[in-house]
Symmetry: C2
Subunit: 392 residues, 2 copies
Amino acid sequence: MEQPDVSELTPPQRTLMGPGPSDVHPRVLRAMSTPLVGHLDPAFVDIMDEVQELLRYTFQTDNDWTIPVSGTGSASMETAFANLTEPGDTVLVPGNGYFGERMASMVRRAGGEPVFVDAPWGEPLDPDDVAVAFDRHQPDLFGFVHAETSTGVLQPDVPELTTIAHEHDALVVADCVTSLGGVALRVDEWDVDVAYSGPQKCLSCPPGASPLTLSDAAVERVFDRETPVRSWYLDLTELGGYWGEERTYHHTAPITNVYALREALRLVAEEGIEQRWERHERVAGALRAGVESMGLELEPEPECWLPSLNAVRLPENVDDSAVIDHLLSVYDIEVASGLGDLAGEILRIGCMGYSARPTNVVSLLAALGDALEAQHVDVDARAGVGAAMERL
Amino acid sequence: MEQPDVSELTPPQRTLMGPGPSDVHPRVLRAMSTPLVGHLDPAFVDIMDEVQELLRYTFQTDNDWTIPVSGTGSASMETAFANLTEPGDTVLVPGNGYFGERMASMVRRAGGEPVFVDAPWGEPLDPDDVAVAFDRHQPDLFGFVHAETSTGVLQPDVPELTTIAHEHDALVVADCVTSLGGVALRVDEWDVDVAYSGPQKCLSCPPGASPLTLSDAAVERVFDRETPVRSWYLDLTELGGYWGEERTYHHTAPITNVYALREALRLVAEEGIEQRWERHERVAGALRAGVESMGLELEPEPECWLPSLNAVRLPENVDDSAVIDHLLSVYDIEVASGLGDLAGEILRIGCMGYSARPTNVVSLLAALGDALEAQHVDVDARAGVGAAMERL
């Protein structure tokens, strides 16, 4: 076979304002070029401890079982559902976005039966509907999405939801992929049993090692399983030996991704988690004000606005992919289209982590104005930029 | 909660001569500090194509389905077994090392029944035993380990094994974790249906995106499944949309790990795959000669010697962990102990990828001599270094 001739890696320099990945902080990029130690090296064990401590702070939890899962966000998601679901279990999942359907698929593969609590795409779950669904289905587990990446909707009333679940002896799994490190999230105070996330959203870390935390009650349920978890790779009862006291070998950890996550979480700790939530609200608030001043609408109601992911409704008859291509090809800015019920109707504009900076907001607004004008939409980009600057 | 105070990342500078990870080439480390593009960016699609082409060359295959799986080596391993095993299937796996037992666990979780073909730990499978096991169990799938990381044994006679399997209408899965890029492996010529590997062994790339290749027959079996794969994350029928023609979203790829793998595979192509196999044989041959000149024995017979992982039998009454600690704490060199049946009896000394360099061999031999002398073993380290240098 002939040797392939592949040139040096020179990807374009993008500004990542889509639903993730976000721009990675230069310190995190540098951490990734650190030479490796072995995954069982005593020095790596210390690094594991530090990452766990930093993750606990970021999740606002004291949970012992707080680890990075060796895969991208969907791996931490499936770790949660595959470990907490046994064959025959009933699991309540949301019908108001893309990721509820993914939860259902994972539950089915684990041998469980998903049942749905519905709300329109672009709206949060109503606690009353959740209570009705609990009375009707008596689920063993309840999964909800704290920050729905497909619709830009933040689920308010989390403590209300967890209270309903616990009154019905169910455990709660929260999808925090787009909230961790960017939007107020208090795992312990809100009584969330299991929360998972990805590193490439508000933590601004490359994907590959994904945060997961489990309460003692959740860990107990996992270790009391009657059947083995259906994935060896994601089995927490096996992983516990590696991340727990014993430090026994299970699989090779993605060492460099753990280095990167450590540095990304150090940046969270240096900024302060509450200050970081405030920054996201301020910078995304400027984006929101700018978009609205241009005569465009944000999809969700203000009380469930998700600063880290802004769903901007497109004017009628605008081709979303033409706008997205214009932003990428002319300005090197990445944003994304809608998914599912909102496909073709919205743009998803991220404002996450290191991407959540004033310079990105003003350049995005100007570029968006240009892209819409190219589609013959009459928008006032100057007014948008001006309104944003007033907030920054 | 108080903000954790974690200092800058400064791991010790090790020389990695254990069973993996190996030392990462500086060019690969630099590639990892490249800013990210999105996982659906047209530029990333081109990068995916290049990685696939480079992987095909390294596996010596024309298989369309040649991809990096988004996890460490055990994820590509489970992707193979979880996709190729349906509930009720019989899967023949080897009993001569640690990783056959892992295969069995994965098969059970997928709903299949593992049956074993045995050989002592430290010896390869005998094709006659494999034929007998096939006649007896009529398995649907046969997994074997091309390069057994736990024992340092190379499985010879691969074409004989695949012929037996195909005569019985079974497909063959080869564990190439410690052979890919370091030891002769010809997937197409040897008629292997599925081969998987990890990047952190002979490819000298950080773990996180793991090579997998499937023949058309294997892909057909996956797409003809009657039941869904029991892991959503590892389901190839879903992943096919992302890595195939359509490029649809499944999960976020570990972008930086794909960058790193691309650079590591470029180094393979630049060196030439056969030249790379020869280098491993030459450099590990020097290590072998050195060890033997010091009066120590390599575990496997010469015909199943695995250059990338050398199982050195320790003299009686030597504490393996004291030797390992001495090498790490005094010389910053990582080697590993034996596993399973060989625990306490061998040292596992890797000679993989960028770690397979003359300078590492001579320093390891000198350091090993010192560590053994500290254990009151009378060895001639000078003779070992001298014998190695003659071969280098």
